[in-house]
């Protein structure tokens, strides 16, 4: 369970990133966060695993405050939170397997990871790759893969991490419509089969409606909508965006 209590973020130049956010995400939910770019979607997501610091309030992960955590305790909490990025964030020169194994480092001491991973970890990493259907690419350099394949490697890294929560920050923004569907399907399947709480930032509202169990709308750093997909009508979206829905906010019928 993730709890955000009175979370605000003010940037040093005075800009409000997030203002007074109160949200609770239950285990196993598939939440999609929507909003215009600059609405604070990415800031909100990165506050949850403290890639960004918040200036007020508190965020608790399964009862433990990540806001107050330091050093080893912070790393321990982060270990349980996997993150998928828009630009995949793989080490391009390393092999696919090594990129996936990087998800395991939180379970070992620094020295152990330098000496090489235990057999069990390698097995786990290969299984994770198999779950996203690219096990045969394990020993290829990451930059040899297409964008969609690279994003699936990033998802495998999160699986190998045995994360309880997945945060995905615009995971399909740099992918074409077909691979977009494959990656979203992977995320949805993992959410359902393993019960991993999944929070995804999305730009396309039709994609949000198709995959989410719950939609959160952000506007200028504030929560302006929070409810099930059935309530997220075109009119509500127009409210979230502050204007009618535009063509480029729809992925298109034919891809879905």
């Amino acid at each position: 369970m993730i709890e955000l209590r009175n979370v605000s973020k003010t940037y040093p130049n005075g800009t409000k990133g997030l203002s007074n956010i109160n949200l609770t995400f239950e285990k196993g939910e598939f939440v999609v966060i929507v909003g215009l770019s600059g609405a604070g979607k990415s800031t909100l997501l990165r506050s949850i695993n403290r890639l960004h610091e918040i200036t007020e309030g508190e965020i608790r992960i399964d009862g433990k405050s990540i806001t107050a955590a330091k050093g080893a305790e912070l790393r321990r909490i982060r270990r349980d939170i996997g993150m998928v990025f828009q630009s995949f964030n793989l080490v391009k020169r390393s092999s696919v397997l090594r990129n996936v194994l990087a998800g395991r480092v939180g379970y070992h001491s620094g020295l152990r990871t330098l000496l090489g991973f235990p057999k069990a970890d390698i097995h786990l990493a290969l299984q994770a790759l198999d779950r996203v259907n690219i096990a045969e690419k394990a020993y290829i350099r990451a930059d040899q893969l297409s964008g969609g394949q690279q994003q699936r490697v990033a998802i495998a890294r999160v699986l190998a991490q045995e994360a309880k929560i997945i945060l995905a920050d615009e995971p399909v923004a740099s992918l074409d419509p077909l691979t977009t569907k494959q990656v979203m399907d992977d995320l949805k399947r993992i959410n359902q089969e393993l019960g991993i709480t999944t929070i995804v930032n999305l730009h396309y509202i039709d994609l949000a409606r198709e995959y989410a169990t719950r939609i959160v709308g952000l506007r200028a750093g504030e929560v302006v909508f929070d409810g099930p997909v059935s309530e997220a009508t075109d009119e509500r979206f127009a409210e979230i965006y502050g204007r009618p829905i535009q063509e480029d906010e729809l992925l298109g019928e034919k891809a879905l």
């Binding site: 912070l74 993150m83 630009s87 480092v105």
Partner: protein
């Protein structure tokens, strides 16, 4: 027509160029006077140069037997110096890179140390180490190591600051410690560059090591001093030719290797 020509912009004045020329000329003339250099002296020196060249040829081929070992010593000095330098350059380059450490204090101090190391000429370093450790290879190796740290760390930290931040962010998000963060996010990105810089430094060090013997820091340089002192210019020529051959060979292979890396 006439009105239009009036509107054309005027070229900027040439005064700045003329002034620069005068200043450069003045500096040149002043330096020549102060160092007592003149074209006349250069011309009157030509016969001496010619005499020297005549004595240098033919080179004393038999002398090669004596200088192969010192030449190998020179290469060994360069290898040892570069290796020690590379090892110490690793932590220093990380401390000097703005995206690796948060505190400006740390990277400013690290950069200050690196700048200091690179300002000291290697011959001066060698002379200082000879004074401390006595004649031999050790002061030469130390001098090269200090010089290498400065150069390798400087090149490496500049490359470090340009690496992709994405994988670093990913490593933070999986809960990596600082050591793991470096091992998995930084090292794979920087390693080819680092190896290339080490090879480049090795090339420079072979050339530098060849003259370090002049101040008693071991290697082939000692033989330059000896043969020049005894006016055995044919032997000096043999040393020059051997040095040239070795330096060219090492430069060639190192350049090829570096091309493969990047």
């Amino acid at each position: 027509m006439n009105a239009r020509t009036k509107q054309l912009p005027k070229p900027p004045g040439k005064l700045k160029h003329a002034l620069t020329f005068v200043i450069v000329l003045f500096l040149l003339w002043g330096s020549a006077v102060q160092t007592e250099a003149s074209i006349g002296r250069l011309i009157s020196g030509i016969p001496n140069m010619w005499d020297l060249l005549k004595e240098m040829f033919p080179p004393n081929w038999a002398y090669f037997d004596n200088i192969v070992n010192p030449m190998l010593d020179t290469i060994r000095m360069a290898i040892a110096g570069t290796t020690f330098g590379a090892v110490f350059a690793i932590p220093l380059s990380i401390l000097a890179a703005r995206n690796m450490v948060r505190s400006p204090w740390v990277y400013q101090i690290a950069r200050f140390i690196l700048n200091l190391l690179r300002t000291i000429p290697d011959l001066l370093l060698a002379a200082i180490f000879v004074a401390i450790f006595g004649l031999g290879l050790i002061p030469g190796i130390l001098a090269l190591a200090v010089f290498s740290v400065g150069l390798i760390a400087k090149l490496t930290y500049e490359s470090l600051e340009t690496i992709d931040r994405g994988p670093l962010e990913a490593m933070t998000s999986v809960g990596a410690s600082k050591l793991q963060w470096i091992a998995f996010g930084v090292v794979p990105q920087i390693l080819p560059h680092f190896i290339s810089y080490v090879l480049y430094t090795f090339e420079i060090n072979v050339r530098a090591a060849a003259v370090l013997g002049l101040v008693g820091a071991g290697g082939i340089g000692l033989y330059y001093e000896k043969t020049l002192g005894f006016l055995e210019y044919d032997k000096t020529n043999s040393i020059i030719l051997l040095t040239l051959a070795v330096v060219l060979a090492i430069d060639y292979f190192s350049t090829k290797l570096r091309e493969k890396l990047l």
